[in-house]
Symmetry: C2
Subunit: 238 residues, 2 copies
Amino acid sequence: VVLELYVAESAGERHSDLTAAASRVGVPVRSAPDRAVAELSDTVTPQGVLAVCGAVDVGLDAALSGTPRLVVVADQVRDPGNLGSLIRCADAFGADAVLISADSVEAYNPKTVRASTGSLFHLPLVLDADLEPAVDHCRSAGLSVLGADGRADDALDELDRSGTLARPTAWVLGNEAWGLPAGHAALLDRLVRVPLYGRAESLNLSTAAAVLLYASATAQRRAASAAQTASQGGRPAS
Amino acid sequence: VVLELYVAESAGERHSDLTAAASRVGVPVRSAPDRAVAELSDTVTPQGVLAVCGAVDVGLDAALSGTPRLVVVADQVRDPGNLGSLIRCADAFGADAVLISADSVEAYNPKTVRASTGSLFHLPLVLDADLEPAVDHCRSAGLSVLGADGRADDALDELDRSGTLARPTAWVLGNEAWGLPAGHAALLDRLVRVPLYGRAESLNLSTAAAVLLYASATAQRRAASAAQTASQGGRPAS
């Protein structure tokens, strides 16, 4: 993915491990004036190293090949930090792919890349994913398509207890301010809310996503482990 | 809590509901030049209304009076947005109090207040809470004191299955970069990690907190509901 590495003159020693690793795999490493690196970087205190990378996104077919069990769909997510944090959560809980709608923030926005803390490079990303074909593809791949909605009747913990969460699932997360528009919600199998017990009216996008993905990933692994135990004649797996 | 309300001259109509509500409860509402309100506000696009508020924090004894079941302890949390988001999550999952160490960011930092989206006013906050007395108070109040640590042996989902999470719990969350120092971790009953299944090395503070608090709150309610069913002779609660 990395095509070229630029290192600020004064930061060369600090990044010697990185530049050695890049050289070993044939990535050209170039020294550049500090000012040039600082100008190309958009952080206040740049780390002194910049990589030119190729695009990492893939098509819907490639992202959903095999037998995906957990997929995240970002529908009109507009804040770059939120999208990056969402990609990080998807990676953390072992999602197979992240599909991002065309009217979401750019996945290659520098803030999104930084907030993903490397997860952008860890799992297949699909850009410009229109919701209708994305949902169709997910269903064809055997996934239930659930939408996150704070006003939904179904609560996450009830779905967990009923065994519904153990199914292969695509989670659709809508916009930070207005959620999933009615026309989009109508495309999905079910809307689900994270149960809230206090006086906060909502969670923010990435904390809601973390809870949904943790619950799904854990329910799936618990079910798989129970199935394995059952297939061994009811004895606990060793 | 609100002592005075200042409304920008050009924003008066937009906030008429708010100013009427303030007047009804005897809060003085004052009109101020737009420039003055903008200068006092620290956002790029201020909403045109400012409230002068009294402090809302309370002492440890007051915060942990009664029979708390879920408490959050922020130990050396330095990012204002993270602390605000943590308070919002604590509120969302019905926590009884948030204790904040003296070396954490100020709870009244404007970014913390905004990130809490009102939750700062929803549950008791303790400032300057040294970890040792905070842990002692939590134990005296009947709480297990668990620390979040990405390298811990015990995984959250295992604790959930074993019934441990259903106990009244105080969750201690450490610094964004270095977590809980060894000396602080040693004060706690147990360290717990959120299970990660992908290639991401960690979650950020607020997403980890959301998962921990969701799991605790849900486990406690599940156990309470099971106990109620059992006390009714095994029939499901109507």
